[in-house]
């Protein structure tokens, strides 16, 4: 296992974060929190009939991924994809429109909140079946390898996902074929209502990658800088033919599993401790304390984010529903196949 510290030291120069990187990270975190809160508010108000999965607690992990990935890198996510999508640079307007099921959504409104994608920025696809995106990411990795391209593919999934067969098969394959991939496990400590210790025989998820002879490391997801640096290292290795890395990002889920679900079962002390480290506000304080950005610059970002989110929701709400004729299109490339049935 590659230990976090040593991996970091090895590439300190390459992984250093610029002020622009740090600003972008803060912006992304705020964007994720704010968009998520708006969406949950809409669901709770009954104006949005969607199963929306918030990413509260993962803002830092996602933002770090955003600065670590290059535009040409590709990413496959799951139902909890809002943070990954925004970090990768997918259009906020299209994402929100998709959550509303509107014609201007990423999937013309036909996919929905669990099926966001934006191929133009390498946010290739996201899936609603636990673990199912991992072998698909491996296929993108294979394509990158066959293309001889210096691009990496990131597969994002949760801690609970490491229990399913698809994860195992893909880890073995990626290591065996030395695919240019980074397996990013967003460990928020919960799989729906079940805490990690109740479903994993071994909770050291990073160590489990050894079974596939895959280098791995665990990083504190509430430390977005360390996270970004580790991801840069892993992505760099993937792009340079060094093969896959498993990165466990340790965070905590700051809400219930889904937008509207109860979370009274989460131990209050654990939740309170994690909330103390709430990524966006914590990072904001750090940026101020370290003098990276001053209050005015941060307030400017805050204002822009709020405006952008409000614009996106307004855009989505104004966007038309897909035309009834859309019902039978996009089943096959050629619409006539369906009509002939």
């Amino acid at each position: 296992m590659v230990h976090a510290q040593s991996a970091l030291e090895a590439d300190a120069a390459e992984t250093a974060l610029s002020t622009a990187d740090l600003t972008q990270m803060y912006r992304t975190m705020r964007l994720i929190t704010s968009t998520g809160e708006h969406a949950v508010g809409e669901v709770k108000a009954g104006r949005l009939k969607s199963a929306f999965y918030p990413v509260r607690g993962l803002e830092g992990a996602c933002a770090a991924m955003g600065v670590a990935m290059l535009t040409e890198d590709q990413l496959v996510s799951n139902y909890r994809s809002l943070g990954d999508a925004l970090a990768k640079g997918a259009s906020l307007r299209s994402i929100v429109a998709e959550i509303y099921g509107r014609a201007d959504g990423t999937s013309k409104g036909k996919g929905g909140a669990m099926h966001i994608h934006d191929q133009s920025v390498g946010f290739v696809t996201s899936t609603g079946v636990v673990g199912s995106g991992i072998p698909i990411a491996a296929g993108l990795g294979l394509a990158a390898q066959l293309d001889g391209a210096a691009r990496a593919v990131v597969s994002v999934f949760g801690d609970g996902t490491t229990s399913i067969g698809a994860y195992h098969e893909s880890m073995n394959l990626a290591s065996l074929w030395n695919l240019p991939m980074v397996f990013v496990c967003q460990n928020n400590q919960w799989a729906e209502h079940t805490p990690i210790a109740e479903y994993a025989a071994s909770t050291d998820l990073a160590a489990r990658a050894e079974a596939y002879a895959m280098p791995s490391l665990a990083v504190d997801g509430f430390d977005p800088i360390a996270t970004a640096q580790q991801l840069r290292t892993a992505l760099g290795r993937a792009r340079n033919g060094g093969g896959p890395t498993f990165v466990e990002i340790k965070t905590y889920r700051l809400t219930g599993h889904s937008g509207s679900s109860d979370y009274s079962y989460m131990p209050t002390d654990e939740l309170a401790a994690a909330t103390e480290r709430d990524p966006a506000p914590t990072f904001r304080r750090w940026l101020l304390d370290e003098g990276v950005l001053d209050e005015q610059a941060l307030a400017e970002v805050d204002k822009e984010v709020i405006a952008e989110v409000e614009d996106a929701f307004a855009f989505a709400q104004d966007s038309p529903q897909p035309a009834a004729s859309e019902r039978y299109t996009d089943v096959f490339a050629d619409e006539k196949v369906v009509s002939a049935l």
Partner: protein, 340 residues
């Protein structure tokens, strides 16, 4: 064939109480756990405090312990396989797969093992497992919305049950758990909380394989099951105003399939529509329609029509695009057949 008024029960008690479908199923599982120590429950998030996605198992792990009511990792193949193995050792496991769409993750265990082991062992193996699963809703999108019962009907060796009301959910689930064959028991997100009824509080069973005439009628038979039963009943009310008298036959179990009741109904009305939430193409209705036309050849007044989900993945609900057959479509089709 039975009618709702005189539903067959092998055991019943006088006391009833108003229950949702979710609570009725909880009651069936509670009684099964209580009455037979070999009954165990397996599934993701089924233990308290979660009590399952639809809360169907709420309270049961607290009452019977997490030894018998076991929350599992996200491992559908292991869930079903473990249920099969425990069944081979004399248990009656009830395994939950959160959504029917996830069946593809563990289908091998169901179709190659649970359904075949009795045959492949020349009758020496008995797999009395019940697999509970849920048909989701379009608001979750295309990977959480499918009615896949046709896959299982096409797979010899597994019974398939899909109730439409709270009382039947209780009675049929109890029968599945007590049955010596693998049973797939299909619940529905929409019905779980919307269907409320007076349901017997005590042990109550409805035999598998008996259709129920939910509404007698003279003009046209609607053969249906599960949530579509309510579409049919609503349509029947609408059409009654136009003087069209629909008979609504609720199959309740798809395997065993009570074709005798279907034939009785259609022999009487001479017109039939098969209605379900599964995709029409190659769906359960294809089998039923083919059978009706074969057995009643020359005796029908009109072709048998089928209405089901369209030939496309489920569009996301807020998009407003249709997927499931509607009451309007059923009414139009009924009017069309009456015009023959």
């Amino acid at each position: 064939m039975t009618t709702t008024a005189e539903s067959t029960t092998t055991t019943s008690q006088d006391e009833t109480t108003r229950m949702t479908m979710a609570v009725a199923m909880n009651s069936a599982l509670d009684l099964a756990l209580d009455g037979d120590e070999k009954v165990i429950l397996l599934g993701e998030d089924i233990a308290d405090p979660a009590g399952g996605v639809l809360k169907v198992t709420r309270g049961l792990s607290s009452k019977y312990g997490t030894g018998r009511v076991r929350a599992t990792p996200i491992s559908e193949t292991a869930i079903i396989g473990t249920a099969i193995g425990a069944a081979l050792a004399g248990y009656r496991p009830v395994a939950e797969i959160m959504f029917m769409d996830f069946m593809g993750v563990c289908l091998d265990q169901i179709t190659n093992h649970a359904a075949k082991l009795r045959y492949m062992s020349g009758g020496h193996s008995t797999i009395p497992i019940t697999i509970r699963t849920t048909v989701g809703e379009q608001r979750f999108g295309a990977q959480h919305s499918q009615s896949l019962e046709a896959w299982f009907m096409h797979t010899p060796g597994i019974k398939v049950v899909m109730p439409s009301t709270a009382i039947e959910a209780k009675g049929l689930l109890a029968s599945c758990v007590a049955d010596d064959d693998p049973c797939l028991f299909i619940e529905n997100v929409r019905l779980a909380f919307s269907q409320k009824q007076e349901v017997p509080v005590g042990d109550y069973r409805i035999p598998l394989g008996e259709a129920d005439v939910k509404r007698p009628g003279a003009d046209l038979s609607v053969i249906t099951y599960g949530p579509a039963v309510h579409t049919a009943l609503a349509t029947a009310e609408t059409l009654a105003d136009e003087g069209i008298d629909l008979e609504v036959v609720d199959l309740r179990t798809l395997i065993p399939l009570d074709m005798a009741s279907v034939m009785d109904s259609v022999a009487k009305t001479r017109k039939a529509i098969v209605l379900h939430d599964a995709t029409t193409f190659c769906g359960p209705g294809a089998e039923i329609a083919a059978r009706i036309t074969e057995e009643l050849f020359g005796k029908l007044d009109a072709p048998v029509k089928r209405l089901g989900a369209g030939y496309h993945p489920a569009p996301y609900a807020p998009s407003g695009l249709s997927y499931l057959p509607t009451s309007d479509e059923l009414a139009d089709t009924a009017r069309e057949l009456l015009g023959y």
